[in-house]
Amino acid sequence: MSTPVYQAALATLLLGAAAAAPAEAKTIRVTVDRLVYTPADIEAKVGDVIEWVNKDPLVHTATIKGGADVELPAEQSGRLLLQEAGSFDYICRYHPNMKGHINVRP
């Protein structure tokens, strides 16, 4: 089945799929430093990824009540793919004074 015609068709399919994907899906970076999420407020779209870069020597989390729970080991990062639209408050489970908010548009 590896005829040139088939390969061309496959290439078209792949390119077509790539073009159909949300072109503007992006990674949004949030810095975690001295027990603060910066920026604290995020505007995003479904399909975007949030990456928390934890600069503290402390273990943190980004935890949405009743939802995602991203562990952020000391001086490491954690990521979350946004799969549904909505307005989400999140906190650090270990340090609940740390607060952030994500608004996810469809």
């Binding site: 027990l35 020597p57 402390l58 000391a74 270990y94 340090h95 609940p96 004074n97």
Partner: protein
């Protein structure tokens, strides 16, 4: 109880003693580093006692948080001391804190169950309040080195959260 209270009172008095009119009374950076490190270490030891003794989920989770955070901060403190070529210097405040903590540890060792949980958490509230007060009014204002001051400030923010957490657990236990 009188002896325990006296030791705790002495520790508090020493923490605040240098807050007098004489600038010479202020602790030096090597002393501040020692006091901060000791305060963290004592809280880690208390937390380990609680983890080994308590069967209460909220208490054990709180204690695990104390070990996790204070170990991380103390590692930072040691790394900074090394970087600045500062040798933490033992002093009367550190000694008084250690003595008061040892007396509390022995007192708690005689307790179990709900009585232990209550006594441990109430002491955590008091201990964090005491140390946070000392950080705010004495240790941070006295610190000369900017990086040390900054570490203490981040510590204070963290430890205020610990105090709130302890207060919250104490309320739940009532």
């Amino acid at each position: 109880m009188t002896i325990r209270m006296t030791a705790a009172a002495a520790a508090t008095a020493l923490l605040f003693a240098a807050h007098g009119a004489l600038a010479a009374d202020k602790p030096t950076d090597p002393q501040i580093a020692h006091i901060a490190y000791t305060a963290g270490l004592l809280d880690i030891e208390a937390a380990k006692q609680a983890i080994a003794t308590s069967k209460n989920k909220a208490v054990v989770e709180f204690a695990e948080g104390m070990v996790r955070d204070h170990e991380a901060v103390n590692k930072q403190a040691l790394d900074l001391a090394k970087k600045l070529n500062v040798t933490p210097e033992d002093n009367d405040t550190s000694k008084a804190l250690s003595q008061a903590a040892e007396e509390k540890r022995q007192e708690l060792a005689k307790l179990s169950g709900a009585a232990f949980d209550k006594a441990y958490v109430e002491n955590e509230v008091a201990y964090h309040r005491q140390v946070n007060g000392a950080l705010e009014t004495l240790l941070i204002p006295s610190a000369q080195n900017g990086e040390l001051k900054s570490l203490l400030e981040t510590g204070l923010k963290l430890f205020r959260g610990h105090q709130q957490h302890a207060e919250h657990v104490a309320t739940e236990l009532k």
